[in-house]
């Protein structure tokens, strides 16, 4: 990895930093609105785990949801915009390998996800006291989940050739996956069918494992979550890299 990779990574970071009102502050506002509505309205009536308040349960879920959505949005929107406006040509003309290309987009997406997550967490922590059970689990799931989402964003960006195709990814895949991921509820409160379906959602494991780092309780073992999130991240990265190497939709 050389200067070319560092430049592409830096350019991607600068791109979202220049519009931080939209890329960092807007997600903070929407996540805090969820928090206010759900934690204030439902907080008194719901108890998911014994001894754990609903806000304490909800905050990690919302933070991870924001990280997943924003990491995906960063790599996918940057790529699809560059393809549609044509300026991706400047990257394609450069002596960068597919691995450098992939990692630059994924790492920038991870950074945006982590920044959004940090800002949301710090703001939420101001209103709702949070405990930390294991910082290591928190960091591991932060990195793996934003990596997974960033890689998925690269895949979507490589595939999509129109903005409405990207909107389809957002609305029919990312949104359902993040909302049906246990951010707002425990999997055990679901009917058997939805419980079964949710077990195929990698975002559920990302949220469950991340939440374990805060409250020390989870629907499934954090090791199982680690295995599933990690292997999904690796599998998605492998598929996306293979597609990039084949030139599919990028170097036709």
């Amino acid at each position: 990895m050389g200067v070319g990779f560092a430049t592409l990574f830096g350019k991607e970071v600068l791109r979202f930093w220049k519009v931080s009102f939209q890329t960092l502050l807007a997600p903070l506002v929407s996540t805090l609105l969820y928090l206010v509505v759900f934690a204030q309205v439902l907080g008194q009536r719901i108890s998911v785990y014994p001894g754990v308040g609903y806000a304490e349960f909800l905050v990690p879920g919302l933070v991870m949801m924001a990280m997943l959505q924003n990491a995906f949005a960063n790599s996918s929107s940057s790529l699809v915009q560059s393809k549609i406006t044509g300026n991706l040509v400047f990257v394609l003309l450069a002596p960068l390998s597919e691995m450098e290309f992939f990692l630059a987009y994924v790492l920038a997406a991870m950074l945006r996800g982590l920044l959004v997550g940090s800002v949301v967490l710090m703001t939420a922590g101001f209103f709702f006291p949070l405990q930390i059970h294991s910082l290591l689990w928190i960091l591991v799931f932060c990195l793996l989940a934003t990596g997974l989402s960033g890689a998925l964003g690269v895949l979507a960006g490589v595939w999509a050739e129109k903005f409405d195709q990207m909107a389809a990814w957002q609305n029919f895949l990312i949104l359902p996956l993040t909302f049906l991921s246990g951010a707002f509820y425990s999997l055990h409160s679901l009917p058997p069918l939805w419980h079964f379906i949710s077990r195929f959602n990698p975002f559920f494991y990302a949220i469950d494992g991340f939440r374990y780092g805060f409250i020390g309780a989870s629907d499934v073992s954090p090791w199982e979550s680690l295995l599933i999130v990690g292997s999904t991240c690796l599998a998605l990265s492998w598929v996306t890299l293979a597609l990039l190497r084949s030139g599919w939709r990028v170097r036709p």
């Binding site: 600068l14 044509g86 400047f90 394609l92 003309l93 002596p95």
Partner: protein
């Protein structure tokens, strides 16, 4: 540059084929451009000029055949091949997030050049862009954006420069600025590959010319030889005669 590198062709294209579905965009093209040449690639719309440039630059992949830039095969040795090539694309594309200077710095970085401001300043001056250096790309006129595109192709000082219809829809002032700068680069040893529909420009600037027609190379010779062969007074006449002969 070693004596071996000096003797290599700037561009070497052998039996290149490229199809898009049923459309055969390139049908076995062979072409060699020597170092230091100012070479024109001509052809009617849809002849395959941009496809040939795309496969040469690695923007598309040839179905078969080999392409080399300064002796470097464009897929096997893509890093060296791309470092040796600067391409000015036909479309006016730009990244709206950045200023002119940022755009040129980023492009330098892609090619591994971190501290390139002296050369960037020289490019800006030669393209009459110095006073626009800190202006966002969105705020530039079409002609100014075209100049930045040229600058982006030159930031890494490539020995081979490809200009894909660089003067399409631009004013006289930019044309003159551009050709003056490109002639200076050619004089300094850079190989120039130009595609254009303005045949008088090709005639004034280039030594040799190749003509593509429906994905096949139908001529590749010195302009004077082409004029003589077609018994034409101008390149435009010779070009029209050649296309008529091919289609007959």
């Amino acid at each position: 540059m070693s004596s071996l590198e000096q003797s290599l062709p700037a561009v070497e294209i052998r039996a290149v084929r490229k199809s898009y579905g049923a459309l055969q965009a390139l049908q076995g093209v062979d072409l060699t451009i020597e170092q230091g040449e100012f070479f024109a690639l001509l052809g009617p719309n849809g002849a395959g000029k941009t496809t040939l440039i795309s496969v040469l630059a690695g923007l598309a992949r040839a179905d078969s055949g080999t392409l080399k830039v300064m002796g470097h095969e464009v897929t096997q040795d893509y890093r060296a091949a791309r470092r040796a090539l600067g391409v000015v694309p036909q479309e006016l594309v730009f990244d709206p997030f950045f200023s002119v200077r940022e755009t040129l710095r980023i492009q330098s970085g892609y090619f591994g050049l971190r501290h390139n401001d002296d050369w960037i300043d020289e490019i800006l001056e030669n393209l009459h862009l110095t006073d626009k250096a800190e202006v966002n790309m969105r705020a530039l006129s079409g002609g100014m954006k075209r100049r930045v595109l040229i600058g982006q192709a030159l930031v890494h000082r490539p020995p081979v420069i490809v200009l894909d219809e660089p003067t399409a829809g631009v004013d006289v002032e930019l044309r003159q600025t551009l050709w003056k700068f490109v002639q200076k680069l050619n004089g300094a040893g850079h190989t120039i590959l130009l595609t254009t529909h303005y045949l008088e420009e090709a005639e004034a600037l280039c030594q040799r010319v190749a003509v593509l027609h429906k994905g096949k190379l139908v001529a590749c010779e010195r302009i004077s030889d082409l004029l003589q062969g077609q018994q034409a007074a101008t390149l435009e006449e010779a070009f029209m005669g050649l296309i008529r002969d091919v289609e007959a």
